[in-house]
Structures are given as structure tokens and as C-alpha cells.
């Protein structure tokens, strides 16, 4: 279990960036990066959801799937992990959405449209699975989820800036659209490789 929080956070944001080196959450990364403002909204939403989802799934992992005891019978429910994680994440997202809608319409307006997109996003589930895979405690897991989200948001922000610039370039016809976006993402991920080893 990691105890070095600095390493945990820097690692999550830069070195093992979810999008650019772990290949998680590519779909929203490519899909919601056309404009800077939408990228900002999506980034915020992902940080938010990843934090609470990592916390919730870590709790489930710790207190249900690995060590549930009912009527004195213990069972290893490892096989339920996937089902429970995704169920909890989906429900959580829906609940957050309705609550936001009710109690903070401005925030809902800013983040609302991105929330459902996050359910079908590898990043959230990925963070939960990684946490479970190395048996992280609830607190580090939450932190990991949050900073992985920050890493995602950072990559998304940078990428959307680049794409706004690309939009003004005379991209050769076959490369227009997704193709150039992917190539740019590749070079961006190359730049992030430089951080390897700093933790």
C-alpha cells in the first residue's frame, strides 16, 4: 500500500496519466475536447465523479466484496466486484445528477450534460479496479481517484486548447477530424513520457 501521497498524486496526474499513458477514458477525451469551455466542464465533472466513485467503490471493496460476514457466514465475493462497482457508479452518477439538478441548477447546467457520459467512461471504473487490484485503503483510493481525475482534466484541457488551434489550421483533407486529433494526442502523450520516473 502506498503511503507516499506526493508520489501518489504526481504519479496520477503526470506520470501515469490516465488518458495519455494508461489509455483510460479515451472516448470522452476525444469526444468532449473540441472546445475549451466544454472541456473545462467535463474535466470538472470527471474530477468530481471520480472522487466520490473511488471512495464508494473502495468502501464496497473493503467492507463488502472482500470481507462480508452475514449471520456469521463469511464469503469471498470477489466475483461480484465488477457488478457491484458498476452498479454503484451508475447509481451514484444518477443520484448526483438529480441532486445537482435540484439543489444547484448552475452547477447542473455546467456539469449536468457530462454526467451520464461519465458512466460509460473507462476512467471511473478503471480507477476503482486499479484501487481494488492493489488493495488500496479507502483514503488513498479516494485521493487516487481524485488526482487521476485531475490528470484526466489536465490532459483534456491541454488537448482542447490544441484542438481549437488545429481547427484554424489547414489540415490536409484525409487527416481532418479524428485522425489529426489522434496524432496530436500521440505527440502529447510523447511529451508526458518525459515525466516517467519522477515517482
Amino acid at each position: 500500500m502506498e503511503t507516499n501521497y506526493l508520489e501518489l498524486t504526481i504519479g496520477a496526474v503526470l506520470v501515469y496519466n490516465f488518458v495519455l499513458s494508461r489509455f483510460l477514458g479515451i472516448c470522452p477525451f476525444l469526444g468532449v475536447s473540441k472546445r475549451l469551455d466544454t472541456a473545462l466542464g467535463m474535466g470538472g465533472a470527471v474530477v468530481f465523479v471520480m472522487t466520490i466513485a473511488s471512495c464508494a467503490t473502495a468502501l464496497i471493496y473493503r467492507y463488502v466484496t472482500t470481507s462480508v460476514k452475514i449471520f456469521g457466514y463469511a464469503a469471498d465475493l470477489g466475483f461480484l466486484q465488477i457488478t457491484l462497482f458498476i452498479l454503484v457508479i451508475a447509481a451514484l452518477v444518477q443520484i448526483v445528477e438529480v441532486i445537482l439538478q435540484k439543489f444547484s441548477p448552475p452547477l447542473y447546467k455546467a456539469l449536468g450534460i457530462y454526467l451520464p457520459l461519465i458512466t460509460t467512461n473507462c476512467a471511473v471504473m478503471g480507477a476503482a479496479t486499479i484501487n481494488a487490484g492493489i488493495d488500496r485503503g479507502v483514503w488513498p483510493a479516494t485521493l487516487f481517484g481524485m488526482f487521476s481525475g485531475v490528470g484526466f482534466a489536465l490532459a483534456l484541457l491541454i488537448f482542447s486548447g490544441l484542438r481549437e488551434r488545429l481547427e484554424l489550421s489547414q489540415i490536409p483533407r484525409p487527416f481532418q477530424g479524428m485522425a489529426i486529433a489522434l496524432i496530436t494526442a500521440g505527440i502529447l502523450s510523447m511529451a508526458f513520457l518525459g515525466f516517467s520516473g519522477i515517482c
Binding site: K34, A91, C122, R173, M178, A185, G186, S189
Partner: protein, 224 residues
């Protein structure tokens, strides 16, 4: 009937290929194709889940209330994913299982699977849904394997672990940046061919601008 089924199957392979045309499920596409075997394995696993979930959901489609259909789809899909996971733990070669890693659980959130459940299985018959799942899965597998072959060949000079060009060693295509760049180049190539075809046919061709969500509107449909 046969024709419909054939159509359901075949559209996933080329016309609506989930990776190359719809640009869905990008994470496994990029993460698991540094080797052709991994692509094939991931494709097979996803296909199994797709067929299974499509079957079950089209069976249950009338019993599923609209309000909770997404959680139910998810549970069904998650069940199949877990089954695949358990099978792989038990029977698959260890190296493959390790290579696929967390991407097996992540099939759950693959937009292709959920998207087919929502867009096809929930509206069509069991048989058609099965064929649809099979076709989409085959398309996914095919593109992953082909892309895997390309990356593997360019980086190690071999395919499926068999060296064809001894001494070739060029790591870039196998690493994250190379994956992105190669996929981009591949798309550009497809765009070029499609555009040429379209021009010949006198049509207008717009290169895909982003992922194509017309087959999975999970994200937008729940917009209250």
C-alpha cells in the same frame, strides 16, 4: 430473413465498424493492440459479452422498465463480463490474462456493448440481436487484431509473436504515442479511400469528426 440477419451481422464488420467508423471503445483499441494476440483476446472476450448481453436483453426487453433500464443493462453486462473474466482466469494462458489486465472488467463500460443493448437489443428480436452482437463483436475483433498486427509488426518485425523480420526493433508503435499516431494514420488512410470512393460516386464525404454516438445514446437520452 436471412438477408436481414446477414445485414445485421455484416454491418458491424465494415459499414458500421465500431472502432474505425464509429470510433467507440477507444481505450482497449489503443491499449491492447501492441500485440496482435492481445487484440484478438480482447476482441473475443468482448464478442462473448456482446452476444450474451444482446441475447438476454432482447429476451427481457419487455420486462425492463424504462427508468431503470440502464442499471439493468449494466448488471446484465457485468454478469457476462464476470463470467468471461472467471473463464479467462481459469482457462486462458496466463500471459494473455495478464496482458488484458483491467481491461476485462472495463468491457462493462465499453460504449459498444451498452450501446448495442440500448440501440439494438432493446428493440429487436432475439435472433437478430444475437447476430448484431456477433457482427459488432467480429468487427471489433477484426479491427483490433488487424491494428494489433500492424503495431506488432512495425515494432518487432513479427506477427503473433512470430518474427518475420529478424533484428527489427522499433519500439515507438508499441508504446502509447505510437498507438495514437498509428491509429490516426490509419483513419487518415480510410478517409482518403472513402473520399475517393465518394468523389467517384459524386457524393459528399465528411471525415469522422468525433466518436459517432448515433448507436449509443446512453449519454444523451437520459438528459432529463
Amino acid at each position: 430473413m436471412m438477408k436481414t440477419l446477414w445485414n445485421d451481422f455484416f454491418k458491424g464488420i465494415w459499414r458500421e465498424n465500431p472502432t474505425l467508423v464509429l470510433l467507440l471503445g477507444m481505450c482497449p483499441t489503443l491499449a491492447l493492440t501492441s500485440k496482435a494476440v492481445n487484440g484478438l483476446g480482447m476482441g473475443a472476450a468482448t464478442t462473448a459479452v456482446l452476444v450474451g448481453s444482446n441475447l438476454v436483453i432482447s429476451l427481457l426487453k419487455n420486462l425492463i422498465p424504462n427508468k431503470v433500464r440502464i442499471p439493468i443493462y449494466i448488471v446484465v453486462i457485468a454478469t457476462f463480463v464476470t463470467i468471461v473474466d472467471l473463464c479467462m482466469q481459469a482457462y486462458a494462458p496466463e500471459s494473455l490474462y495478464n496482458a488484458l489486465g483491467i481491461f476485462i472488467p472495463l468491457i462493462v463500460v465499453n460504449c459498444i456493448v451498452l450501446g448495442r443493448a440500448e440501440a439494438f437489443a432493446a428493440k429487436n428480436t432475439v435472433i437478430r440481436s444475437a447476430f448484431d452482437g456477433l457482427g459488432m463483436g467480429a468487427g471489433f475483433t477484426l479491427s483490433l487484431t488487424v491494428f494489433g498486427c500492424i503495431r506488432e509488426f512495425l515494432s518487432t518485425g513479427g506477427i503473433f509473436g512470430v518474427t518475420l523480420v529478424p533484428g527489427w526493433n522499433f519500439m515507438l508503435p508499441a508504446l502509447a504515442p505510437g498507438g495514437f499516431i498509428l491509429l490516426g494514420a490509419l483513419l487518415a488512410g480510410m478517409n482518403y479511400l472513402n473520399e475517393r470512393k465518394a468523389v467517384k460516386a459524386g457524393r459528399l464525404y465528411v471525415p469522422p469528426q468525433g466518436m459517432d454516438c448515433r448507436h449509443c445514446r446512453i449519454c444523451s437520452i437520459d438528459e432529463k
